[in-house]
């Protein structure tokens, strides 16, 4: 019974934890501009993140060490430093976007300006990463993030033309108002949002935090293979809500407050309360994960003691890195920059940095010295290689498309 509960909890946490500000904003923007014509990208992204998160979790469970430690040892400091620089920058950008997301979500509930909420959000993130137990932190935010299921409920409550929605998803058409370049720019953004690098660092370091062994591989696989795809279903539900209400109303999403409109139409103030709690939990949970990831990757690269399983005094530098990252994120937001803009750019830059994150994981997962009999099989390698090609193509096309479309205008 305890085992079943633990598996169910893991899956629910994975669903709730899958969504962050990048997924929320990008899916809503795409839904309001392209309908479900880009739903296929979510499917591609979810398969990719399942594949690589599972691989990173396996590396951690088998070796007892996080991916980044092994990357430095296996590929040398130079390659690891390139990986670190790109990943740390993207992670910092994502952390900034998430703290901004928490502030914006709290603004929706209170009408108090986001500038007032930024220090509150940043302080709360710091207190939780410093004091709260890893499992509690992960489970509470993951479970509260499940409130975003109201987007799926809203899709049904809005009584859409199902045939039309299915047609949009299965036979994608670019509307006259949009160009092919914009379509592909947002395809890359959605792909980057689904495969954000911090998810893999957090997943692999979390496995070490929770002392996974080979025995836990089945549970971890189940969490990833069931939880993430269901998280992907929620992503498509967000895009569907925008496609049903905002696209016909000719309202393009440019702010977080617009994302709630379809939910309010479907369920009034009750569903609004749920969606706000869900958005706060999802963005706050992701802010915790990105803050931790900042500490994880730097400490693992430099060989410092790390982890929440240690007392803060035993991993002081790890905690200092997280503190500085949180302060830096809040400081960037205090320049007055729009958190939604940071989010939009963070998902695209994630896509640019993807090869640096995922190629080393594939190399390590194929090293029998670390993995023993859990070394990648032929099918996994074939699929991973296909994904590497997709990742590389997305990474190379991202900047030219960003310039040509003026950031998706």
């Amino acid at each position: 019974m305890g085992k079943i509960f633990s598996v169910a909890l893991g899956i629910l946490t994975a669903i709730g934890g899958f969504l962050d500000i990048g997924d929320l904003v990008t899916n809503a923007v795409v839904g309001s501009r392209f309908g479900l014509a880009l739903a296929w990208v979510v499917v591609v992204g979810v398969i990719g993140i399942c594949l690589y998160a599972n691989m990173a979790g396996k590396v951690a469970a088998v070796s007892g060490r996080a991916t980044f430690e092994i990357i430095r040892e296996r590929l040398g400091p130079r390659v690891a430093a390139a990986n670190l620089s790109a990943s740390f920058f993207i992670n910092l950008m994502t952390l900034t976007a998430e703290i901004g997301g928490v502030a914006l979500a709290l603004q929706l509930a209170t009408d108090v300006g986001r500038m007032m909420w930024i220090p509150v959000a940043a302080f709360a993130v710091w207190v939780v990463v410093w004091r709260v137990k890893f499992s509690i932190m992960e489970n509470v935010t993951g479970l509260l993030g499940l409130f975003l299921i109201v987007f799926a409920i809203s899709v049904f409550a809005l009584h859409p033309n199902w045939g039309d929605l299915v047609h949009q998803a299965t036979a994608p058409v670019i509307s006259e108002k949009e160009s092919a370049a914009t379509y592909w720019y947002f395809a890359i953004a959605l792909f980057g949002a689904a495969m954000t690098p911090y998810e893999v660092f957090f997943f692999s370091s979390g496995a070490v935090e929770e002392h996974w062994t080979k025995k836990d591989l089945g549970t971890s696989r189940l969490n990833v293979m069931v939880g993430f795809p269901l998280g992907g279903v929620l992503s498509i539900a967000i895009a569907s809500c925008a496609a049903i209400v905002l696209l016909p109303g000719q309202i393009e999403v440019t702010s977080l407050s617009q994302i709630t409109m379809p939910v309010v139409i479907a369920g009034g103030k009750l569903l609004l309360a749920f969606v706000i709690v869900g958005i706060v939990a999802a963005t706050f949970g992701a802010a915790l994960e990105t803050a931790l990831s900042a500490g994880y990757i730097l400490a693992q690269f430099l060989g410092w003691p790390w982890g929440k399983f240690r007392r803060p005094a035993e991993a002081a530098r790890f905690h200092v890195v997280m503190f500085v990252a949180i302060v830096a994120g809040a400081a960037v937001l205090y320049t007055g920059i729009d958190p939604i803009m940071v989010t939009e750019y963070s998902v695209v830059f994630s896509a640019i940095a993807l090869p640096l994150t995922y190629l080393p994981i594939l190399i390590v997962a194929n090293d029998s010295e670390y993995m023993g009999e859990e070394t990648n099989g032929r099918v996994t390698n074939m699929l991973s290689s296909v994904y590497l090609v997709i990742i590389l193509a997305a990474s190379l096309a991202a900047i030219p498309l960003m310039i040509v479309t003026g950031g998706g205008q």
Partner: protein, 154 residues
């Protein structure tokens, strides 16, 4: 032999660098501001204003029907206004080269100013600072302003 190899490597590096800068230059000429010029920027600002006005009208509609809260409606209206202000800033200082662009720019800035005023008035009504205009009228005016701007511009 070694000298020839070194020279070849140097030429290859120069050629690659030149190709990179030519590519970058070509790419930058394709960015919307360069490619579409002032008409493109005006059209973009018009689209942003129309979508913000419609968003404001929908936010007001949901508030009138009591499906939304005062707080959410107020944030939605403020967001819509900020979007119009951003679009205004993007076109206000553009230097037009022909009379069509000048008249479009004038029409746009006038409509934007009016929509910003309507959104500010709606925000004041939601926050109970004033009771005029009636919320229904504010909603209808915003929707009408969006339609008028879109059809008038084209």
């Amino acid at each position: 032999m070694a000298q020839q190899g070194e020279r070849l490597r140097r030429w290859r590096a120069i050629a690659l660098l030149a190709a990179f800068f030519v590519g970058l230059g070509l790419l930058l000429t394709q960015c919307p501001a360069n490619r579409d010029g002032m008409p493109g920027q005006l059209a973009q600002a018009m689209d942003e204003t129309v979508t913000a006005a419609r968003s404001g009208a929908l936010a007001l509609d949901l508030w009138i029907k009591q499906r939304s809260t005062n707080q959410l409606a107020s944030v939605q209206i403020s967001d819509a206004r900020d979007e119009v202000v951003k679009a205004y800033k993007g076109i206000a200082d553009l230097r037009a080269e022909d009379s069509t662009d000048i008249s479009r720019q004038r029409m746009l800035t006038e409509s934007m100013t009016s929509i910003i005023g309507q959104l500010n008035a709606a925000s004041a009504v939601i926050r109970s600072i004033q009771h005029e205009p009636a919320p229904e009228k504010a909603r209808d005016d915003l929707a009408a302003a969006a339609d008028a701007l879109e059809s008038g511009y084209r």
